[in-house]
Amino acid sequence: MRLGSDVDSFSATWQRSYASLDVLPEDEVCHFRIVVERQLGARRWYRPQVVFRIEGLTPFDPYPLDHAFPMFEWGLNWCIAMSAHDYLMLHSAVVERDGCAVVLPAQPGSGKSTLCAALVGRGWRLLSDEFGILRHADGCFLPLPRAAPLKNASIPLLRDFAPHLGFGPRYAKTRKGDVVHMFPPGDSLQRQADPARPRFIVFPRYEPGAALQLQEQPPEVAMTRLVNNSFNYRVSGALGFRSLCRLVRECASYQLINGDLSEAVAAVESLVQAREP
């Protein structure tokens, strides 16, 4: 990606989040050329706004100027979702440790981002918080390490659980309430070209006050849930079908109902430890 911006606060946050990335060499072709810039006209001074442009097109309405960073993150997700149909895209977080990737597919509000950030706080590598990018050729997940938006009550929870992680500024009253981004750790960014093989699928569901339940799921149930979880299952056609069949055959699937973050993290870690010889 090549990114340009005339919004200083945005550039500063972006650089803090992605400091460890290498600069794309001039002679390498990028996927997207994106500009995040102030909206011209009278609104430059009165409640200034910022627009997201890709290749000169403006696919969305402007955002308030101080929400430039969440707009960029959302906009880039949109660009990827519209283009990356060579891969199966799951609405899933993916984390990895010791070559063993865990896929966390879930709908918004299930505590997926919170659990993902907590595992990253425990030293797991972040492949992605939002987009599980599955490569049809070998069934591996490609990393897409990005700032992970934490919402409302998750914000203080994660600051307590993993204070050593990098966090961005607080964006109040977005469409999803208050948002603070967890920045991707440097080594996750450094290893963004290393795919990982999935071994477990864990469908997380946060229920306040619930006792921990980790239940194995039959592959056909996992298959059905993943079909509905994917952004582009239908677009992927027969390739998507074969890749999902392979995924649910090669992974053990679980449903994880939890009311406590530490217990949920321990449950996921125990799965992986039990597997090790």
């Binding site: 056909e220 059905t224 079909v227 079908f241 074969r242």
Partner: protein, 94 residues
């Protein structure tokens, strides 16, 4: 004139066993279906391109299950209607 059943003529199907089910992908409609044992067996009987009547299908299924075919006939008819509504099989005059 007898009515037989065959796979939808404009379609090719991909079948994969997933756990206790068979997942079916239709290239023509782009739809995925998860079928349990009986509909999967009926589809695999038709997958060679054969055109079979519901009686012949009941006999074939009964052979696998080692039971009298009369027991299977109502279920086979029911399954054929369901598969037809999924556009996986179609009626064929023979």
């Amino acid at each position: 004139m007898m009515h037989g059943w065959q796979l939808s003529s404009h379609d090719t199907l991909i079948l994969e066993e997933i756990g206790d089910c068979v997942a079916v992908y239709s290239n023509a409609t782009g739809e995925t279906h998860l079928l349990d044992a009986l509909p999967a067996e009926v589809l695999s009987c038709l997958s060679s391109g054969a055109c079979l009547t519901h009686l012949e299908l009941a006999v074939a299924v009964a052979k696998v299950a080692d039971e009298p075919w009369e027991n299977w006939l109502p279920q086979v008819c029911n399954v054929l209607e369901r598969l037809a509504s999924m556009q996986l099989v179609e009626r064929f005059a023979r």
